[in-house]
Symmetry: C2
Subunit: 379 residues, 2 copies
Amino acid sequence: MKPSANQLNFSGGPGALPESVLQQLHTAMLCVPETGLSILGISHRSEWFAQVVHELENNIRQLMGLPSSTRVLMMQGGATQQFSMLPMNLLRNGESADYIHSGYWSGKAIHEAEKSGRLQQAWSGKADQFSRLPSDAELALSKDAAYFHYVSNETVEGLQFHRVPGLETVPRICDMSSDLLSAPAEFNRYAMIYAHAQKNIGPAGVTVVILRDDFMNTLPDDLPGFINYHAQADAHSIYNTPPVFAIYSVLLVTRWLRDEIGGLHNMAQRNQAKADCLYQLLDDHADFYRGRAATADRSKMNVVFNLPDAGIEQAFLQAARQAGFSGLNGHRSIGGIRASIYNGLEFAATEHLADFMRQFHKRYRIPATSKPVLSQAYA
Amino acid sequence: MKPSANQLNFSGGPGALPESVLQQLHTAMLCVPETGLSILGISHRSEWFAQVVHELENNIRQLMGLPSSTRVLMMQGGATQQFSMLPMNLLRNGESADYIHSGYWSGKAIHEAEKSGRLQQAWSGKADQFSRLPSDAELALSKDAAYFHYVSNETVEGLQFHRVPGLETVPRICDMSSDLLSAPAEFNRYAMIYAHAQKNIGPAGVTVVILRDDFMNTLPDDLPGFINYHAQADAHSIYNTPPVFAIYSVLLVTRWLRDEIGGLHNMAQRNQAKADCLYQLLDDHADFYRGRAATADRSKMNVVFNLPDAGIEQAFLQAARQAGFSGLNGHRSIGGIRASIYNGLEFAATEHLADFMRQFHKRYRIPATSKPVLSQAYA
């Protein structure tokens, strides 16, 4: 059976969501079964919605193995709002924080945070064009930092930390926007984790923020409500009207992870299989499909590669679109090709893509003595 | 034909949306016709979405009769974020702003704004338990205020300004969260207007912010991006990943207003008819259904009233639920009954409610000499 357009959506984000979640949201648009009302017309102060948030908080704690002494918040404003909220909350009195600059998104985090506080660069991958991640030995970490910040997965460059960097004595804060809930991890080693939903967790418009109680207690409580973690936590994410639809969507994704997938361990196996499928293909045709990331730092979420030149890349993208794939263009900042293989994408989709890439490679003649020429099939 | 649950949804917000919009969103959950993809899996950097925002900005300008020298932004964080952003942008150097305190929501605006700047109270309705709005003569306005702020419609108390208060020489800023796009108004007399979507405009999770260019030019540009109006405007609301679904929903509502309703003049006539239907019923049974707002200040969006005592109010709400109505409970801060009759609610629904209220009044025996007793029908 030919997969649907949604099933072949390799978008870097907002990304594909699981088919069964989309089906439930399709129904909920007209009628949420328990309420009889459209999800868009239900009060955020209803008993039903309080229960949605309650279950969602618990599902996330359960999936991630977090103790009850952890707050789980649903906020607005994306990771970008968190970029600023961190220094606005933690660097008000001249303190300094350590940041790893490992790619486009950690660069954005630094750019925003610098407007509100003093930062130290623990490492930068700029000299290597963000093609690899640092070793522990390369990190310049301060014992006195107010916090240490990094991005676990760089979606643009396709780099992912496969260990937990940083000192245990400094609050560790991680932007896991593009890999939270994609695999188990030592989540209890973090003071704070945040992730916008639109990769693995739900639609754009809601951000999951997880705070350990002991860290939360160090945060100020005199900031305006919309940037006050205490106010948001005390209100269980209903300080003011929250994005009801987006939060309900995230609830359905956590149920899917728990009941259909069977938890993060199983999710990680599926994601590993998808990544293996595509990276194996890159390695088998390394002269043609040129992986961007250092092998040890390859992302299991974003497979980023180049073709021999920009003209061939355009031909590849055009042929891919014609074959039913979408979202394969690289990030606008660096171009190239990017296959994002978030939780919602099925293994079969990566097999389809690998087949397509093998065919594209075959049909593409590279005469030994001249510039590559498109075969008729892709001219 | 018996109306659906969505058609009898009198929720104070998130409120009922038009049936034809819900149908299109139902379809878009699986496939937006122009793209073939679920609305939840479409990139915010796609051509398609840029066009969505472009059309939406223009639709709002056209519906409201705004000149092209007006910015139309879609932001996150609700009106609550705007409550704080105003002083954070405009009162940084010790300036003061004038605020009218006319009810629950203007009180919230003041509560949040006070955390970030100096405010003067232009008038307070507290002594009258927020049962009426001020005359122009009662307003204590400063010529030197950085801006003047009020809430056009108080949803909790059912009060609505039917004129434009404030000095023409001071930037006028209005929270129109609960009546924007419900009727025409002299919108060009405002420096800034904002409104969260979840009453008349769309689902929770997006806020419409309208800024006149001359006012925009007075705002600082060195704030972090998420609270920087310049950054948001320059990026046409795509500074970072916006709430794609919510914005698309608002686009569909503006198309509905333009194409199915025929503009704000027609919308106002429909809303007037709904309000007349319910207020006439209150006036006809003024001893039993006791309207909360002074007659001259009655809201055309929220019809708020009490019954003879709290026990009867509970019986009313229970009977209403059994009859298929939802969302009629008053705001948790004051109790009582509230019928919210936003754009998406059809006139027929108010007729159904009026019929129900007439029947409830009839069946409810009030013996001349004793406490009111429920008849069997509603016991």
